[in-house]
């Protein structure tokens, strides 16, 4: 995968187990968000294949991708809420576009989704009236409102205080259990990763290393230990 002359990664191969929480870790510029965007079909690779819930997506047209994306939900790093719409309208939007639900049913679904992320009385607020943590929660609520099979989360913990990080962690785990959705989370927050992940994909300059958090903690691979040591996690585990 490359942007112009800049190669982001080469010969990358990884998989994300169904129904589990997977976290993509890696240093800045390692291509974590690009990998997430590849899965969502927002960027196209120069070569290789990407299979999403049984569909090979690299050969699909943008129009054909829309059918695949019905199975996906995505929580963007900065929310990507439609800034001209209120919170309620942001959540109601995909339902109005893709379902024949009545306004009453839509309202119920929106409030259920907001309750799932611990928000209430925010219907009429515009995105610019929300705090950073609330934006992330509304973004998560919008991502899950269509009950996706796969939920993609781009840096859900970035810019949050430690309490909010714990809150979002809990929400993601709760959503995973409730929807049984495959979750793919991009993060550089190692402590959170170790708490919530079932499966970790660590992007390194010379390829990817996969495994459960416990396997990564025990690893003797110096590249992995070096990366985790930056947060003191591997050292703590070995001790």
């Amino acid at each position: 995968m490359a942007f112009g002359q800049r190669v982001v990664f080469r010969d990358l191969s990884c998989r994300f187990p169904r129904g589990r929480v997977s976290v993509i870790l890696g240093g800045s510029g390692s291509g974590k968000s690009t990998l997430l965007r590849l899965i969502g079909g927002l960027v196209r690779p120069q070569a290789g294949s990407i299979v999403v819930d049984g569909d090979e997506i690299t050969t699909l047209s943008e129009r054909q991708m829309y059918a695949v994306r019905r199975k996906l939900g995505m929580m963007f790093q900065d929310g990507a809420l439609l800034d001209s719409l209120t919170v309620f309208e942001n959540l109601a939007f995909p339902l109005r576009e893709h379902t024949t639900m009545s306004e009453r049913e839509i309202a119920a679904a929106v409030h259920e989704s907001l309750a799932a992320v611990g928000l209430s009385n925010v219907d009429d607020l515009l995105p610019n009236q929300l705090s950073g943590g609330m934006v992330k929660r509304v973004s998560l609520a919008r991502a899950i409102i269509m009950k996706p099979v796969i939920l993609l989360c781009d840096e859900p913990f970035s810019g949050l205080d430690p309490l909010s990080v714990k809150l979002v962690e809990g929400l993601l785990v709760h959503v995973n259990r409730q929807l049984q959705a495959t979750m793919i989370i991009v993060s550089h927050h190692i402590a959170s990763t170790m708490r919530i992940a079932d499966h970790v994909v660590l992007l390194l300059p010379d390829g990817a290393v996969e495994g459960s958090p416990a396997e990564l903690r025990r690893t003797t691979d110096p590249r992995v230990a070096g990366f985790l040591d930056e947060d003191g996690v591997a050292a703590e585990a070995r001790a």
Partner: protein, 257 residues
């Protein structure tokens, strides 16, 4: 050698851009004809692009008509033809100044705002969010704006012309002492509805298509940074303004409008 390479690069970029614009126009055409028809969004855009431009169009139309009348009177009076002032003001406004100046004003006000708005949506990943929700951003964001610009341009141009004629009347009749009946009768006799008025509206319609397409295309292809949004907005104003003037020449030369 570097200059030659730069020229080649610029040429390739121009052709690529032109191809991108043509493909984008085809996508807008398809989105405009295929359901869902986004009537409410179209009406909202008509309001933003049209109603919110009324003041600037009226003020500029009035000012242009007044100055045209002043200049026209000073020239015509040398030949003793000041009774033809209505015809001079009317034909200048209807055939040329109305559609062209309206399009330039709409580019500066509404075209640049459209690019900045869509460009900001690109920079804040809102268009990607739409794609992830299986909603085509060209259908939802670009098409209502481009269609509204096309629809609103002839109306704004007509309003500009009416204000200009009124401004010309104020100066010619009220200030310079031209006979009111002569002003109106020369205007009525000189202007042909089919050749001049419909031609003028057609010109404005074509300018509307141009501005709408360029503004939305530049917005969609914005680099996702604040500098990118600024560059795209500037580019819209420059490219649309130059395109309007070039198209104006060819429409006038080929169709005599």
């Amino acid at each position: 050698m570097t200059a030659l390479a730069d020229l080649g690069f610029a040429a390739v970029r121009f052709v690529t851009d032109l191809g991108g614009l043509a493909r984008f126009a085809a996508q807008i055409g398809r989105a405009a004809l295929a359901p869902p028809l986004r009537v409410r969004l179209f009406v909202d855009e008509l309001f933003k692009l049209g109603v919110l431009s009324l003041v600037i169009i009226c003020v500029c139309g009035l000012a242009v008509g007044m100055v045209l009348s002043l200049q026209g009177y000073n020239t015509l009076v040398r030949f003793g033809a000041e009774q033809s002032l209505g015809a001079v003001v009317g034909l200048s406004l209807i055939r040329e100044l109305g559609p062209v100046l309206t399009a330039l004003l709409a580019t500066g006000r509404a075209g640049s705002a459209t690019t900045a708005e869509i460009g900001t949506m690109v920079a804040t990943e809102q268009l990607d969010a739409l794609r992830m929700m299986s909603v085509d951003p060209i259908d939802l964001v670009a098409t209502p704006r481009a269609l509204a610009m096309t629809a609103v341009m002839p109306l704004l141009s007509a309003l500009f012309i009416v204000c200009g004629l009124f401004g010309g009347y104020l100066v010619g009749v009220g200030l310079m002492g031209v006979d009111a009946g002569s002003y109106m009768s020369s205007l009525e006799a000189a202007v042909d509805f089919h050749d001049d008025v419909l031609g003028s509206l057609l010109k404005a319609l074509i300018f509307g298509v141009l501005v709408g397409l360029i503004a939305t295309y530049r917005g969609h292809t914005t680099a996702p940074t604040s500098a990118g949004v600024g560059a795209a907005t500037t580019s819209t104003v420059v490219v649309a303004s130059v395109s309007i003037l070039i198209f104006d020449y060819f429409i006038t030369a080929l169709w005599g409008v």
